[in-house]
Symmetry: C2
Subunit: 348 residues, 2 copies
């Protein structure tokens, strides 16, 4: 794999930190690494692969000196820096929802739709951390027996909101144990010993944007533009790891053994499904590993062609940083860096 | 309302304590109150309505001296003491799953199927704490537009398992904050900053007994013996309050406004559904109140006749103790005490 120069925008954030750790683990072949963050982190030193890197501002000049810019900061940061980076010749791999539904932007989970990378025009989006594990499960099953409808309810950890939310859960919990009162700050409600069905903003339909991301992104990634899907997205007092209760209806009846076999053979999925030994996915087991854990695979008793299952996945790894690095690896393998292609302008 | 003599078996447990508090709140007209628990609590003194009561063993003699025996201890305690209490002439209101599916035992949520009380033969069961709020929502909607299928995923607090599980969550959390390791004891897995789809034992189908309780009990209470229902029951690190993501399919399309109106007019339900103001049910809002909180009412985008909603309910109150006391109140109103009826023997 050829080397390339990389910038990480949001390097001090929850996902950024994991990105750097995974780049080390996977020996991602960067020849230069630039770390960017907001002003209060400028000058901070971070160790990556034993080398010290100084956090600096994201500037057009900096983007002109890298081949890949990974952006995981905020929607605002992506809107601002994404187009600039592309203009400067960098390929952008973006973690925000900003570009995901743009028809010119591939939205990619490499195990599912890596071929969509070929059509990129400078920006590649990674899906929302609750969408990624879902499409990884649906894809191989849909190949065998078309998926007709999906109902999914999520159990999403605070790290999906970022480092501040993680600190908030820990702080609130400590304060409650000291008998003190707590106030919500970064999250919309108290999260310690509580949970709430409110992730991202509400739309007029009564759905949250987070829930609609799961609908739109799943359809786009699976190339099933009309797939009926309904989601309830819930924030839970867990630090890392998103879990999902999934109910899938297929075109034809689907045997539990078949689902288990197909998922066991799928790259990026580990079936953990031995209830007799109390083995099933849990967020604390998913934390820190690459695979999406799938278990509780059973007939959906309420539908003749239904399967119910349960999954847990590290929202910072496969849900974000790992998926981004896998995309970068595929981009290098396929020779898809922007500088290797005809000059194109990114118009928004 | 005439008075009656009451025994509480499991008086020192999570539900028993709440039962005594609610008896005070509602001025339940007992003329005598006997508190029973396991041996290690014998001799303990509890204040109820300003009167001291000594915890004592549950004996046939004691049951012969009361009109109503409320049992909330364990399945074993219910199997042992239920039939003895009835033999001794006491009406049993039982919180365990032991008798719920017995065709001779009314399984009652007073707002839903109080008339089923009339046929009792000495034992009345209250539903599982995750079933009760669900049937309260389904009943008035089904009356208007027949329910054809229900998919429900739960977020159940540790108090549903009992006082030990509450202590375990608090202890584990404290230990983790001190940087120490934790071990599961009363619950099957670590619960602090974690969650797992494992409540009660697993059956061969891959479902847990808890999930199958929701299926069987909902069908029995609603008198819909074939209602297709699928549940995933999940334990979450919340102290009190069970929440549920519910997806209902009706015979015909159902307007959101209609659902909201019907539920707003239903006794025991409070609609909390103003997403623009971040108002929706949460366990910490449901804790300590009688009403089931319902919100996030919206079209299920994946089904033409579907409605999705979200509820939170105090599993110790409406999910257990309050429902039991409401049954006792109805029993008194209807003159259904066992001693007022022809002598019957309870045969198992």
């Amino acid at each position: 794999m050829e080397g390339c120069r990389v910038a990480v925008v949001g390097a001090t954030g929850a996902v950024g930190k994991v990105f750097l750790r995974i780049a080390e683990e996977r020996k991602f072949p960067y020849t230069a690494l630039r770390l960017c963050a907001t002003e209060r982190s400028w000058g901070k030193r971070l160790l990556v692969n034993g080398q010290e890197h100084i956090v600096e501002p994201a500037t057009p000049e900096l983007f002109s000196q890298v081949d890949i810019a990974f952006i995981s900061a905020s929607g605002k940061a992506s809107r601002e820096y994404g187009p600039i980076a592309v203009q400067q010749g960098a390929l952008v791999i973006d973690d925000s929802s900003t570009f995901r539904m743009d028809p010119n932007v591939p939205l990619v989970v490499p195990e599912v739709n890596a071929d969509d990378l070929d059509g990129h025009q400078g920006i590649i989006s990674i899906p929302n951390c609750s969408t990624t594990p879902l499409v990884m499960v649906l894809k191989p099953l849909n190949h065998l027996n078309p998926v007709r409808r999906v109902v999914v309810d999520t159990y999403q950890s605070v790290s999906g909101k970022g480092s501040k939310a993680v600190a908030e859960l820990l702080d609130q919990t400590r304060l409650l144990h000291e008998g003190r009162t707590v106030a919500a700050n970064d999250l919309p409600q108290r999260i310690a010993y509580n949970l709430f069905p409110h992730i991202d903003n509400f739309e007029d339909t009564g759905y949250t944007k987070e829930e609609m991301k799961m609908v739109g992104e799943t359809r786009k990634i699976l190339h099933l533009p009309d797939l009926p899907l309904s989601a309830t997205c819930v924030r839970v007092p867990v630090l890392v790891g998103h879990s999902e209760a999934v109910h899938v209806e297929f075109e034809r009846p689907m045997a539990v053994a078949t689902v288990r076999e197909v998922l066991s053979e799928s790259i990026g999925i580990r079936v953990v499904d031995n209830p007799a030994s109390a083995l099933y996915p849990m967020p604390i087991e998913a934390e820190g590993i690459d695979d999406v854990l799938v278990g509780r695979i059973r007939k959906d008793l309420s539908h003749p062609n239904g399967i119910a299952l349960w999954l847990s996945s590290d929202n910072l790894r496969k849900g974000a940083a790992l998926n981004a690095i896998q995309i970068a690896e595929d981009v290098l393998k396929r020779g898809l860096l922007l500088r290797q292609r005809k000059a194109q302008s990114w118009r928004r």
